[in-house]
Structures are given as C-alpha cells and as structure tokens.
C-alpha cells in the first residue's frame, strides 16, 4: 500500500463510480443468479440423461452367452405407462398454475396447485414402483440381464429426479403455508417449476424412445 500518496486528494481512487455500494448493482444480464443457476444445471442434466438414454438404447437388445430372462421391453405395459406419463404431463400444467397464482399473490391457490403437483408426481412414482415390482415378479431384476440393468438405471434416475422434485414442492408448500414465502419470492416457485418441467420433458423423451418406439 502506497502510504506516501495517501493524503493527496488530487488522486482519485481508480474506478470510483456513482454506485459506491454494491447493494444497488444489478446483475449484468438482468437475470437473477438463482434462475441462471437452474438453467445451467438443467443444461448439464441434459447430458446426464442423454448418456443414460443412449446407454439404454445401445444395450437394450444385447445378449451374450449367459443372458437369461426377458428384456425390459418384453414386459412393458404400454397402457399403464401411458396413464402415468399422462399424469406426469398434467402435473406440469398444475405446476405452471402454481407459478401464475403466486405471481398474482393468490396464495391459497398456489398452495393447492403445489400440493396437486406433488400429488400427481407421487402418483407417477407409485406407478413406477408398481412397474418395477411387477417386472421383478415376472423375473426381471436389476441384475437379471443387461437390458434390465440399463432400464432400471435410466428410469430409476428419472424417478430420483421426480422424488427430489416432490420434496422441493412439499417444502415450498410448507413455506407458503407458514407465510415464509410470499409473492415477492414467486421466482423461487418458478425455478422449482423449471426443474419440474425439465423432469417432465425427460419423461416425454423416455416415453417415446424407450417405451413406444419398438
């Protein structure tokens, strides 16, 4: 530190601006840090699911000398999965309604839609649990063959994502109910909504390429 120059007021400190305080600095993009964070995370997650889905697609029909048991695709129950896919799809609608209602400061509605969304998500998870157990009963466990390992890993990871989303939704519901989260923080709900919709579009892809395309 150049002590010698300290008292000279001819010197201006480099970079003095009319904001002498960080408190009033906007972000450069005008976007909040949290929302950029969530989108960055979702961009990253695309590659996670990209890798899992392509792994499944590459492995689903592979057999070796010790392969036994059916493939996952042999056991698909399309009508059943269609219903649970539909449920998850509709939960995206209720999610968006939760966001619009908190933006309009309609807290009661917001709570309702949050819970509905979490509920629909739970139905989806229940469906998945049912699917897994029925596969298991039909002789397709996680370790049975290569297609089952790949299938359970892919859908399991999606299920974990959904479950995390449910936890977040219920937390949000609790916060809104407790009055700790008001309309001024609608963006928090919006960000969780982004996550929820992302999980939904991943399922849109899985439903089409894993379940429907033979």
């Amino acid at each position: 530190m150049s002590e010698t120059t300290h008292d000279s007021d001819a010197q201006i400190a480099y970079g003095r601006t009319e904001w002498d305080d960080y408190h009033h600095l906007p972000t450069n993009t005008g976007l909040t840090n949290e929302k950029v964070t969530m989108w960055a995370f979702l961009g990253s997650d695309c590659l996670l699911f990209g890798a899992l889905i392509s792994t499944y697609l590459l492995l689903r029909n592979r057999v070796g000398p010790s392969t036994t048991g059916p493939t996952a695709a042999d056991l698909f129950d399309i009508p059943f999965t269609s219903v649970s896919s539909f449920v998850l799809l509709m939960s995206s609608l209720t999610m968006v309604l939760a966001v619009t209602s908190i933006q309009r400061a309609e807290m009661e509605r917001c709570k309702l839609w949050l819970l509905t969304t979490a509920g629909l998500g739970s139905i989806f998870i229940a469906g998945q649990v049912y699917e897994f157990t029925s596969f298991y009963r039909e002789g397709l466990g996680f370790t049975t063959n290569i297609s089952s390992s790949a299938f359970f890993t892919l859908t399991g990871f999606h299920g974990v994502h959904v479950s995390l989303g449910i936890v977040m939704l219920v937390t949000m519901w609790a916060l809104v109910s407790g009055g700790q989260l008001g309309p001024e923080r609608a963006e928090t709900i919006e960000i969780i909504g982004l996550y929820w919709h992302f999980v939904d579009i991943v399922w849109i892809v899985i439903f089409a390429v894993v379940y429907l395309i033979p």
Binding site: Y14, P26, N28, T143, Q180, E187
Partner: protein, 668 residues
C-alpha cells in the same frame, strides 16, 4: 435443492464479525486462526486453500512419479512389485489430473476471476466453500484406498471390463469410481457458480468482449465442465453399479460392449484435457502483454479461438480409440476432426508470439514460465497432431510417445502456465513477490529437468516402449534413455524444492520485514485486479470500477498525448484504490464443510457397509436443513439497508433483492 435457495451475494456482503445465532447453530465468527479458514466463504481464502491443497497433492503425485521412475531406472527394476506399480501409475495420473491441475485452475479461477470482473465475491460464496471442501474430501477419500487394501489399479481411464470386480477384486477401483464422482460434484458446483458469476456480476461497462482473457478462458472451462461432467458421472455410475450392485453394464458374458465405457469416458475425457489447458492459456494471455508492454495481439481472435477449442473439443474424443475397433469410418472421421483442432490452438500460439514481437520484453519469472508454455506446449501439440494421423497412431498409442505428448501439454503447457500465474499473482494474494532469482533457478532447473524427463520419452516411445509396463527387458534397448528420464525426474524434484524454499524464504522474509510489501500495481498491470492493493483487501474493491476498455486499468495509466503518442499519465499505484473503505465481510458458515463431509461417508458405506451410508445421508440431510435455515449473510451483522427487511426468523433465503434488481432499469 439448495442451489436455488441461495441468493445473490453480491448484493449484500456484510460484516460477519458476530456470533449471534441464526439458523440451527451459532454462526462461526470471523475471528482468526484456523476457523477463519475452515469456515470462510471468502473467494480469496477459498482460492488460496484450493492452491495449497493442490500443491500438497502435487507433491504426492510427484512422489508417485518418482517411484515410477525409480522402478524404470534400470531394466527389470525391483523397486516396486507389478501390483504396486499398477496402482501407483493409476493414482499418479488420477492425482495429477483431478487433484492437481484442476484444483490449481480452480484456485486461480476463484481468486482472480471476481477481481478481474470487479465483483465482491462469487455468486454463491457458501456453494464455493462447499465445492472446496468436497474436493478436499474427494482427495482424501481417493487416497484412503492406500490404507484400505491398495489403490485403484485400472489406469486413470479405467477401461472396462478390467476394472470390474472379476478382474479387479480389491476395493481400489471402488475408491476410484466413488472418489471421482465426489470430485465431480465439487467441480460441477464450482462450474455453475463461476458461470453465474461471470454472466451476472461483472462491473458496469465490462461487456463480454471487455473481459480479461483469463476470465474468458475460465468461463469457457466452466462451460466445458458443466457439460462434460455429467457424462463421466454416468460412466462412473455404471461402473459402480456393476461393482457394487452386480449390474451388467460391462459384463461381456451378458452381451456388454466394452467400447461403451471408452466412449463415455473419452466424451468426458477429451473436453477434460482442454479443461486442463485453457486456464493456463488464459494466464499467459495476461502475462505476455504485461511483460511485453504491448496489448495482446488479436484479443478477440484469442477469445474466439479459445471458445472454438472448447467447442471442437467435443468432436474428437474417439482419437483415444483408434485401435479399439471403431471401424474405418469412425477412425477416419475422428482423425480428421482431431487434426483441425490444431488450427485454433495454433492461432493462439502465433498470436502470443505476435504479442511478444516488437515488444519490450522483461524476463521476469512469470514471463519466462509463459514463454516456456508457448514453446513446450507447441512441442506437445505437434506430437498430438502426429497421433491424430490414425494409421501412425496405431504404432504410437500406448507407448511412451503418448506419455511424452501428454506430459508436454500437461506439464509443459498447463503446469508451466500455472507457475507463471503463481509468480504473477503472488503479490496480489500475499502482498509480496516471490524472490525473482530463486524463481529463475526454479525455472531453469525445471525447464532442463522437464525436457530431460519427457524429451527422451519421444525416442523410447518411437522405439516401441509400451506404457503402463512395470518392467522392460535388458534386450529391449530402452535402458539408456530410461536412465536419463529418471535422472530428469529428480532434476524436476530439485527445481520444485527450490520453489518450496522460495515460498518459505520469502514468507519468512516478509514477516521479518526484509521482503518488501508490494504496492497495488507491481508489474504495471493491465487488468483491474491491479487497481486494488496488494494483498487484496477482504472486501476486494472500495468502489465499483466502471470499465470502458479491454485492459481498462492500463488505459487509465497510459493515454495518448497531443501527438497521439501514448504516454504514461498516471502511476498505477497512485490511482489504485486504497482498500480502506467499506469493510464488508462475507459471513462464514459451518455448513459447507459439514455437508461436504457427508459425501465420503456415504461413499465409504457403499464400499463397506450401507449403515455408514445411512449415517452419511443423515448428516447430508441435516446439513442441507441447517444450510437452508441459515441466511446467506448474517442479518444480525447489522449492516446495510436490507437488514431490517428480513429478520432472523426469515429463515429461507430472501429473494427480494433479486426482484428489486429486475425492477431497476438495467444500466445503459
């Protein structure tokens, strides 16, 4: 998701010098001693800790390298058993890549980027601390394997099925898979944090194309990490599931194709090598202009080529698989894409030379390391182009010719650049310069030792010496050069000891007053981190700088006179900020380190006993809960106009500033 609950720290960093309780426990105070480090959320302290821990692992990775070299000093070496050798080279590669170069780059990214963009901290300081501690625990976890039955023994790219339980029954590969998974989480957290920081927290006027090149390169690297890490995450998940839960992903008897692992690993692995080199490219893009006293030649070209390298790096991964059986179409395609990555890299090299050309070169230590990056990396890059010729690579792959290539780019490139950065920014971080003449000894010994170590590897490689061989025979004719290589490695050790001596001596000297404190701008710097005192005050900037130019600080010092000739109009040290304003301190927190410590527990449990995982999981959940109850900055610190808006019971992170910001018209 804790991530979303963080709030924009930049808006409010308040004095944490208090122990008032908020959240679940009393908050740590900012006091001093080790607590000031362990619970800190300050990007500068975090940066320094990243660096220190990485240097420790460098020592360890170096010891492993020396053991490798001792074994290969003579034919049929007997220093190590084959088993030890395999574990040691695996851990040497893994350590150097994941525990040395990446965290060293993270050290600079953390310390320097906020300063270069004029920010008070990164976007999410607690997340930043979390990343650091996860990385620390990942390193410890990986190396725990040495004490629990032996290190991983599958090579750093761990080709399946050799890494499955059938062929690698020890726990080593589990430590590898889970340890890298943990390290990956650290990098992902850090990457997102820095992306947000660079996007959102630049000083007014600092458009993307006024950003210093170092910040640019770090930004590109974080994007690469963001998109590359999930791929290795999946690969490691598949491997762990195979090993731990008997899945069949790499079980050939079940019809697995081992190439799947190779693809997944290298889809990550190749972007990874650019993750390793680009920070150093950024560093020399800062130092070369400063010590040539000329602006960077082709600023925008260098930035764009950096981004282009990052982008093209996604299309070349299979050049690591030229002999794996890709088939000629794939081999030809990847061979061609690989070649063309030399173009943007070459553009950078030539722009650096053009920066020096016609300059007024000062051979300070950082400059010498920077020049050695330019020349040594080129050698490594050119051997890379020789590998990209796929038919030729069928003779080169898995020989020491490859080992020579990647040490030239990693040591001669990445590490030389990082050393340049250390000497260059040392005064900014610690207030004094490292001794220049010891630095020159360090440099010359290192340069000689480096070329002695890795230069001859080209020769033995072309003569057919295969890598990852724990021995070679006397009849192979490799003895002479291997002896030279081993001696070279010990020369490197001497060089590094000189460096360590330099660090300790200058530090002691500084404390004793014989080593002078540096003013704000000791090198006649160009970017705004030199516009604040050395060492950086805890709050970074007194005032937000307004940026009007690339190399903004330099333009404040040098302006054209009436003839249009550039003249020095101000002394950097005098116009620099004084560091005597607004001591806003970020509030420290227990939670990052607590949360991070849960991860190795969970992983250990996956290897030994799921109950341990359960404990880890509880710890994780508890820490997340405590974390979210704790406001990002201590409201009781009683500073600022927002303190009253959210009292202690406002237990989730308030987002009001955020909405406030968007209401304010963006500054135009």
């Amino acid at each position: 998701m804790a991530i979303t609950e963080e709030r924009p720290e930049i808006l409010e960093l308040e004095s944490g010098d208090t122990s008032t309780s908020t959240g679940a426990f009393a908050r740590p105070t900012n006091a001093s001693g080790w607590r000031a480090w362990v619970f800190t959320v300050d990007h500068k302290k975090i940066g320094i800790m990243y660096g220190a821990v990485a240097m420790f692992w460098f020592l360890w990775g170096g010891v492993e390298a020396l053991l490798i070299r001792a074994q290969l000093f003579t034919p049929d070496g007997t220093v190590l058993t084959a088993e030890q050798y395999n574990q040691i080279f695996t851990m040497h590669g893994t350590t150097m890549v994941f525990l040395v170069i990446m965290p060293l780059a993270a050290a600079f990214a953390n310390y320097i980027v906020p300063l270069q963009i004029g920010a008070r901290d990164v976007a999410f300081p607690r997340m930043n601390a979390l990343g650091l501690w996860i990385f620390v625990f990942a390193g410890i976890f990986l190396n725990l394997s040495w004490f629990l039955g032996g290190g991983p023994d599958g090579g750093w790219f761990a080709y399946a099925p050799n890494t499955g339980v059938t062929y690698s029954p020890g726990a080593g590969m589990d430590f590898y898979a889970l340890g890298l998974q943990i390290a990956g989480i650290a990098s992902l957290v850090g990457a997102i944090n820095l992306i947000v920081t660079v996007l959102n927290m630049r000083a007014p006027g600092m458009t993307l194309l006024r950003m210093p090149v170092f910040t640019w390169m770090i930004f590109v690297v974080q994007l690469l990490l963001l998109f590359a890490l999930p791929v290795i995450t999946v690969a490691l998940i598949l491997l762990s599931f195979d090993r731990t839960f008997d899945a069949n992903f790499f079980n050939v008897a079940m019809g697995a194709d081992p190439l799947l692992w190779q693809h997944l690993f290298w889809i990550f692995g190749h972007p990874e090598v650019y993750i390793l080199i680009l920070p150093s490219f950024g560093i020399v893009s800062e130092t070369l202009p400063v010590f040539s006293r000329k602006p960077l030649f082709g600023y925008s070209v260098i930035v764009i080529s950096g981004a282009a390298i990052g982008f093209m790096g996604w299309g070349v991964w299979a050049h690591h698989m030229f002999v794996s059986g890709l088939g000629p179409v794939g081999v030809a395609a990847f061979s061609a894409t690989t070649m063309f990555i030399a173009v943007p890299t070459g553009v950078k090299i030539l722009n650096w030379i053009a920066t020096m050309w016609g300059g007024n070169l000062k051979f300070t230590v950082p400059m010498m390391f920077s020049i050695s990056l330019v020349s040594m990396f080129t050698i490594g890059g050119l051997s890379g182009v020789m590998h990209s010729v796929a038919p030729a690579d069928t003779q080169q792959t898995d020989t020491y010719f490859i080992v020579a290539h990647f040490h030239y780019v990693l040591f001669g490139g990445a590490l030389m650049g990082l050393f340049a950065g250390m000497y260059y920014w040392w005064p900014k971080a610690f207030g004094y310069k490292l001794n220049e003449s010891l630095g020159k000894w360090h440099f010359w010994i290192l340069l000689v030792g480096f070329n002695m170590t890795f230069g001859p590897m080209h020769i033995v490689g072309l003569q057919g010496m295969a890598r990852r061989h724990s021995r070679y025979g006397p009849e192979d004719g490799f003895d002479f050069w291997n002896a030279v290589v081993t001696i070279g490695a010990f020369v490197i050790l001497i060089g590094m000891i000189v460096f360590a001596v330099n660090i300790v001596r200058t530090w002691l000297g500084y404390k004793a007053g014989t080593v002078p404190q540096e003013p704000a701008d000791p090198w006649d710097g160009r970017t705004i981190e030199w516009a604040i005192p050395c060492p950086t005050p805890e709050h970074n900037f007194d005032y937000v700088p307004v940026i009007t130019d690339v190399d903004d600080f330099w333009h404040k010092k040098y302006q054209p006179d009436e003839n249009g000739k550039l003249r020095k109009v101000a002394d950097g040290n005098e116009i620099a900020q004084k560091g005597d304003q607004n001591p806003h301190l970020p509030s420290p927190s227990y939670w990052p380190i607590v949360l991070a410590s849960a991860l190795p527990l969970i992983a250990l449990g996956l290897i030994y006993n799921l109950w341990i995982s359960g404990i880890g999981l509880l710890l994780l959940l508890g820490a997340m809960y405590g974390w979210s109850l704790e406001p990002a900055t201590d409201p009781d610190a009683g500073h600022g106009d927002h303190a009253d808006e959210h009292g202690p019971d406002d237990d989730d992170s308030p987002g009001d500033e955020a909405s406030e910001i968007t209401e304010e018209a963006p500054v135009v």
